[in-house]
């Protein structure tokens, strides 16, 4: 008996799914990328560049460990330079992935389905990059374990009241929860790949990591419950992690840092840069892997809207910072703002305003939001802007604080750049490996979307 000629459910499509798909077609499309497609030249070149940067990172870390943090441009007064800028930038980028996976799940937004897998992967890799910096930026990195609460022979404990220690817990929790959430989401898809594996080795490897998943209804029930609970936990986690990161600054009394506005400002900024990174990844993926049916223009439109909304919150924060400095009348705050606008780092400030505030206003236009190329280019503007924002907050407040005799300047060295670009290489290396070996779109959720779309069309 030939079974294949029987037609299964065909989805008529919707705003977030191209027409004419079945459970089988979405499965085949996504799993074929992993199992049969192989890698083309563009992939190899991209991976090659990423690995080259990763090798640079390796060199940079070695030099850093051998000679100490003096190889970077940090000094007194500017004790924090690229390392903390990069740390906050990468963590911020990570937050969008969790927001998409967790928050949009709770809000039952269908458009999250095709983007959540690679966005969550992006989060994991971004957190991996971020997590390196607190360790690297230490003067004596071999003593990093002193940050952890273990009963030691001296009877001494970490300073639990310090945001730097809060960071340790927040970022570790975030990394762990993101990994769990991502892996749990992958299990049914790993089973799909296992069942479709073309060679014995692939079958064994995917079979092991799929944990024997068979799609039992009882398992699905607990699975969905776990997914909802994890989503419910991850959403406040996102807010809390970047809040704790912002506390690194707010707890200090420096003008420009000691601001109660930082937590929401940082969280909004994180979502802003995070969605920019998701767009920067989504646009090439949909083009080169032919995923326009799954990553539709509607997705790009929605992501553009979220970018715009969070960008406006960030813009509001800039305005408020400036206003409050003058409204409060504190001469140090006023000087801090004037120094940002007219001092030695004025160029950074004005470029920041241009790329973070002015250019993204183009997102008001639906034509721009719905054009993949323009949206993609805009995402770079936003990501640059968010990096410059962190740089500006850190350096301008540190280099000129209260007493002029303490003033100084910060200039990055080549090792600052090598390590920074190296982490970008690390990120993309991991991402390239991810899209090669794992399904970059959640297969079972796409099947569910096909089912729901067809049901809605029928009723």
């Amino acid at each position: 008996m030939d079974h294949e000629e029987v037609a299964t459910l065909v989805s008529p499509g919707s705003e977030v799914l191209g027409p004419g798909h079945t459970y089988g077609s979405v499965t085949d499309k996504i799993s074929s990328i992993v199992l049969t497609r192989g890698t083309g030249n563009k992939y190899k070149i991209g991976l090659g560049i990423s690995v080259a940067l990763l090798i640079g990172l390796n060199m940079g870390i070695t030099v850093l460990m051998a000679y100490g943090v003096g190889v970077w441009g940090i000094n007194i007064p500017v004790g924090w330079g690229y390392a903390i800028t990069n740390f906050v930038w990468w963590i911020g980028i990570g937050h969008a992935g969790t927001l998409i996976s967790a928050f949009l799940l709770l809000m039952r937004q269908k458009w999250r389905t095709s983007i959540n897998r690679f966005a969550e992967a992006m989060t994991l890799f971004a957190v991996a990059c971020a997590g390196m910096f607190p360790l690297l930026h230490m003067g004596r990195p071999w003593l990093f374990y002193w940050l952890l609460p273990y009963p030691d022979t001296m009877g001494v404990w970490p300073q639990f009241r310090s945001p730097l220690v809060w960071d340790v817990f927040a970022v570790s929790t975030y990394a762990t929860v993101s990994l769990l959430f991502w892996y749990v989401g992958l299990i049914p898809d790993l089973a799909t790949i296992r069942d479709r594996a073309t060679t014995r080795i692939k079958k064994i490897i995917y079979g092991v990591v799929a944990l024997g998943w068979r799609g039992s209804a009882k398992h699905w029930k607990r699975y969905e419950m776990a997914g909802l609970l994890l989503a419910g936990l991850a959403t406040p986690l996102v807010v809390s992690v970047h809040t704790v990161v912002s506390f690194d600054f707010t707890i200090a009394i420096l003008p420009g840092w000691h601001s109660t506005m930082f937590p929401p400002y940082f969280v909004a900024g994180a979502i802003y840069s995070g969605f920019a990174m998701v767009i920067a990844l989504a646009v090439p993926l949909r083009k080169y892997y032919g995923l326009e049916d799954f990553l539709t223009i509607r997705h790009l439109d929605n992501m553009g809207k979220i970018m715009l909304a969070t960008g406006l919150i960030v813009a509001y924060s800039y305005v408020m910072e400036t206003f409050m400095a003058f409204y409060g009348g504190n001469k140090f705050d006023i000087f801090m703002i004037m120094n940002r606008m007219t001092g030695p780092y004025a160029a950074v400030y004005w470029v920041l305003i241009a790329v973070n505030l002015v250019i993204p206003q183009l997102l008001w236009s639906a034509r721009i939001r719905r054009n993949p190329l323009y949206l993609w280019l805009l995402s770079f503007s936003v990501q640059t802007g968010m990096w410059l924002e962190r740089y500006m907050i850190i350096v301008t407040s540190l280099h000129r604080d209260f007493i002029p005799s303490s003033w100084g300047m910060f200039h990055p060295t080549r090792w600052d750049w090598i390590v920074f670009l190296g982490t970008i290489g690390f990120f993309f290396t991991l991402f390239y490996l991810f899209i090669r070996f794992l399904p970059m779109i959640s297969i079972f959720e796409m099947r569910d979307l096909v089912h729901k779309t067809a049901e809605e069309a029928r009723s």
């Binding site: 929860v177 769990l180 959430f181 069942d195 944990l211």
Partner: protein
């Protein structure tokens, strides 16, 4: 084991099997189907309690972790500030609550589901690989008190499936 083409057919079949008195059965689908678990007689999961207990452990544990060193173990007089500065202990307590709750959600779900499970008889049926693509299966276990190879096979055939197969254990 019976194979079906659509989710609705499987749901209907499961309900009929449950009405017929079968208790030990399982349904397999490539994505979660609403109401299917209830149709085969599975209603309550212990997972929320497990997660709550995990979160509670993280919360109390996290707070205690900070409280004990600062109040009893090695209290440090910093500007006369109180030993048990509970507002300062909140961020870590919160993070550890989330961490322990998330760990218990993940490992609790896996443990309750019996995963990793390297072997299951259902995989002996070759068509079962389609359960992770676009086919739906209903399995009636031999442990079921009402199970009889021929009568159960006949019953399954009445549910209008694509195919009925026998599962070797």
């Amino acid at each position: 084991m019976a194979e079906f083409i659509s989710a609705e057919e499987l749901l209907e079949a499961s309900k009929r099997a449950s009405e017929a008195g079968y208790r030990k059965m399982d349904a397999y689908s490539p994505f979660p189907i609403e109401g299917l678990a209830e149709a085969i007689g599975f209603y309550k999961t212990k997972l929320p309690i497990i997660v709550f207990c995990g979160g509670l452990f993280g919360c109390c544990g996290g707070f205690f972790l900070q409280w004990w060193p600062n109040v009893i173990g090695y209290p440090l007089n910093i500007g006369g500030k109180p030993w048990d500065s509970w507002p300062a202990f909140i961020p870590i307590t919160f993070e550890l609550t989330i961490l322990c709750a998330a760990l218990s959600a993940t490992f609790g779900m896996l443990a309750l589901n019996g995963l990793p499970s390297p072997y299951h008889p259902a995989f002996n049926v070759e068509r079962f690989a389609q359960a992770s693509k676009d086919r739906f299966f209903l399995l009636i276990e031999a442990d079921d008190p009402m199970f009889d190879l021929d009568r159960t096979k006949q019953f399954l055939n009445e549910l209008n499936p694509r195919e009925v197969s026998e599962v070797e254990s």
